[in-house]
């Protein structure tokens, strides 16, 4: 299978960038949970390029139409399907360059994988546009979680864009209270916003692009979710995060920095606090042995710079199998980090819901 995820809920994503529609089927949801379509639209807008002067000129309404599993404003528990019509597509942009493999893109590997039969327009099924159904599914999961576990909250923040990095150090208790000067650009050290935006605008001016690092976090997590070995929380969440286009790294807690620590520092000491078990530090990101310990789940996601750049690049032509050059026209984001925030949160929300279904409770 190529486009399915989940053990208890089951997400199936379909569609191509320039096909008639894209969508998601979410199976195994609990029944009787209220879904507010306005909240779905709000999440879709966070991902959408509309109103973002730093994003691609391709502006999609991304209006989701729920066509199954939804009755009288609530989930039925049967497969919930949302479809999003594609519009505003200029396929001709791609027709004339279809044999030129865009560097950093899946053009060449898709060619190998599908024998040349893939829909190459706009990246087809590999397009970042396929993150729209992910956000739809995540928006549904967030609403169900909010009704199941009111204390639970999913968030994300920008840690790095290009060379500008926010080195703010946060303790486990800081996450529940995180506020941002600009909710649309969530940086803890707000003074960095300008410099981060400059990274993007400068790259775009140079027909280039930049990447960045997003930190996702979940607070109010019930302890004891997940399992050892292969069914651990890190594996399950990472398997979704790596499915987001452009992601090349995933880490939990102190991540790669933990490798430089001593055990005496990395071990988060357990303490009793008002009858609750807490840890003083959270270098393990709320997960021990693959199972949640009740502290915030904190993870980082490394995004590479958008591979679509307007500069002329060296590449190959699959028709002639000769070296050639390519200047990508199309319409692209100089940096997808900002639009990626709701996608990262969706992965977290869906993973949490999947984990919670294990502990049962199929009805509202």
């Amino acid at each position: 299978m190529t486009s399915c995820w989940g053990q208890h809920i089951h997400l199936s994503i379909f569609g191509e960038s320039h096909g008639p529609m894209i969508g998601a089927v979410i199976d195994g949801l609990p029944s009787g949970f209220t879904i507010d379509e306005a909240q779905i639209a709000a999440e879709m807008d966070r991902r959408s390029a509309r109103g973002k002067d730093l994003a691609t000129p391709r502006k999609e309404a991304d209006r989701v139409r729920i066509v199954s599993g939804y009755f009288n404003g609530k989930t039925t528990g049967t497969p919930l399907t949302g479809i999003i019509e594609n519009g505003n597509t200029y396929s001709s942009d791609y027709e004339k360059t279809k044999n030129k493999m865009r560097p950093g893109h899946a053009d060449y590997t898709a060619f190998l994988r599908y024998g040349g039969f893939q829909d190459y327009r706009g990246g087809g099924h590999f397009s970042g546009r396929l993150t729209a159904p992910m956000v739809f599914a995540g928006a549904v999961a967030k609403q169900i979680l909010a009704q199941k576990v009111p204390a639970l909250s999913v968030g994300s923040r920008i840690v790095q864009i290009g060379q500008v990095r926010d080195s703010s150090v946060l303790g486990p208790k800081d996450y529940a209270a995180l506020q941002y000067a600009d909710a649309g650009f969530p940086v803890v050290d707000g003074t960095l916003k300008e410099a981060m935006i400059r990274e993007i605008t400068e790259a775009r001016a140079q027909k280039d692009s930049v990447g960045g690092i997003v930190e996702g976090y979940i607070t109010g997590v019930p302890g004891g979710l997940g399992s050892p070995i292969f069914d651990n929380v890190e594996s399950r969440l990472a398997s979704f995060l790596f499915a987001i286009p452009a992601v090349k790294g995933v880490s939990f807690g102190s991540g790669f920095d933990i490798s430089g620590m001593r055990g005496s520092e990395a071990n988060d000491a357990f303490r009793m606090e008002n009858g609750h078990v807490v840890t003083a530090t959270n270098h393990n990101g709320g997960i021990n042995g693959g199972i949640t310990n009740g502290m915030p789940i904190v993870f980082r996601v490394a995004f590479k710079p958008t591979p679509s750049i307007a500069q002329t690049q060296a590449t190959i032509d699959m028709a002639t199998r000769e070296n050639t050059e390519l200047a990508i026209q199309g319409r692209h984001d100089p940096c997808i980090v900002i639009r990626a925030l709701p996608v990262v949160e969706s992965a977290a929300a869906l993973c949490l819901l999947d984990l919670m279904m294990e502990a049962g409770g199929r009805h509202e």
Copy 2:
């Protein structure tokens, strides 16, 4: 499911650190492939603490007995099972401290997950000892791959131990030719070995531990393996790597560093070379859009310092639900990075074999 992995081959791991035996059932293997038990033993020895003065005094022979799926020296294609008897266990080490939750360990989360019914001796099913069946399975996968794709090779190297980091920069063509001064301690910059070992011995002397970073690589990879969205190669390999105890981060290619690059740098340009498609650089680690492009698959794995340290640590007692202190006796590794190398390679080999089964070919 808690201890199963794979889509086409299917690995099921069982056992506890202090139970009678641990083992692995590998289902869905192709039939007719020769298995050399000596090669399995050699891989088991790489993981074993025996003869490693930097490792735990607990020395297990880790002799694998193949009890199914193996006939006349070849795989039958039916479930191949290997069992490893546990010996040399001092359960009494754990009995008296069973209610004291070891910081950085799964004691507390296992308690939540299993309601106190888990086998707490030596970490039970959460023990690093469960990596032995992983290595057994990996050794089988390596041998099948060697017969299926002679050009394919799986390797790993130490990038960091404690604070000592090997910053050697390798190009895509360097991996096939990597040689190490000490195969048992694979560091590209051999001059760092002494300093890395000092990190470990100093930590041990201070009743502490250190972590490290391992880089795994696969050369001679066929292009076109994997699929888009959720079934991508990164997700599938990462889901195994995060199942290795103490892993807190996984990245591919340039990993988190790619987030600081410009697209014009991160995009690996495709070139024709003697009729073959190659990329000049390999910042994407041999994977575009979740599918292999034929370049070396390169990935990094962040290991945290061994949580078991002899220092007295603050923690809680689950029986009294009060704060307490704990000085772990037992026998432990001050650094598991060296022993982790064959485990990381096993994840890579099993993932590659799983991917190759998609392209069919059930017989030798």
Copy 3:
């Protein structure tokens, strides 16, 4: 998961009887296979009630719109999605009786399973209407199989309707040559057609319904498909067949009659015939030890009489939790056997394709 099937291809079905649309996502298909939409329409018509005076007055066009995984007339290999708009629904038929549990239907069990949040209109997700996406998926599978294995053919015939049974005995070689006087009413003993139709018309006249038995068959099957124990062909095909509403029994070869045979009769003797391995008889329905032996796969499916009947029936009211009576209005089939034929064939085609994907070959 509730509505997914398959190991290598992956079918996800969504929708409710009175929702805006129903559909199917087929993932893991091979790429580059030509899909003729006219052939899909022809299969949809076989299932549709249109032009069938023995069927429900609810006439749906059941036009399938392929919205993904399909490019330039061929499969791309990415998820192929087909949607079918619902029209011609009289939901008011159901509103006033929603608390009266229709005997033989899923109303009561759906109430228990979904806590009363299910879409009860026309059976919602439990409706026989959900067999339309199955037939769409089966029509796609049939076309791919025809290109992969030209010799392979999937068919079905009516063995019994009500009390009228066709006892024709067929040898393994008869299946490839089966012809029917009326392809729309495939009975080997054509003289029985009239009596079978009378069973249906008499039942309808008495505000009642009848069931029947369908025999499905696949000829030209490659040998060696399937696996022992849980992954056998019978389990995989039966798991789909029992998903068809109203199916209460599935058998292979001589089915329940084989239990009365002696081993010397039931054992299909292997013979060499023009260099090919054949069996003189086919009591095992082309499957030994769960694996195809190259003879026709023959299986029978028992359908119960349509539970929706116009007679007044005793039942309960979930609102008052008291006994009550119910006379189902709505529009229903007095016998679904004829319309079930393409559904049974779809199960067979999808199962064969799923089995064949194991043997690899992802491209045309």
Copy 4:
């Protein structure tokens, strides 16, 4: 995968008839349930040939050794593994006839599937001996169910052996109270026992074998278990039952007979009885729309006659690819129905437990 079953619990079976051992890994079990090894031994004895003069002379002790997932007499919730040593094997029986394909057996299909690399001794992984780990797993499931749902009970009875059929008609209320004159030979009409045994002894005297039909039943079933479409209870239970060697048919409730009924008869009317919902009849076998309705789950399983018979049979030689004859020596059952009873019950118990895990409750 070839030998795995289950969605929430996960059963993996391994081993060959003449290998060193066979066994089962049961993953995803709830923790804290008491396992009585004597009860496991009792179920193993029901399946064993020991003390059964109608069974094969091959007498295995079938003593199960639990080697993981079991601590202080209770399930830990981690993979529970049981192994059974093979003894009493005369492999030489098979060596000299390995190229002669036994009619009705998997020899030929295994040859196609595994390319000749399968362990052919005693049927290898296809052997009826692999039902021993199924019974072990079922015995564990039965004990957990008894602690989870004390009212629940799993049973089975003989409906037919050879030509002798027990036509006793049972109402839904009869199942909870079923008693048998001889618990080791459970026939409702005890007067038929003698005739049934005669069928077996006569067949054996004629170097032949007979089949039979087993009815399994579960009483005290919670309502609302299962799901519509592909995840229905019939599909899940049937997928296990068809994995039992020699099974060629599975039906629920009135099974194939329901096809001859009118809807007015087949529809089980819902009634309120002492505040509980019941049905007057149970033609649907306790399942509507794939979900349990609280009435007894009743199903029938058709077993073919043992394919191993001492008569000389016509077959082929795979080495010469010519017709030949074969007289099977070995040691075999003239009828496996009696020994199959605990296997059928195990399938039912494991399916019920798997279904119940969906409704959550991971601890005792």
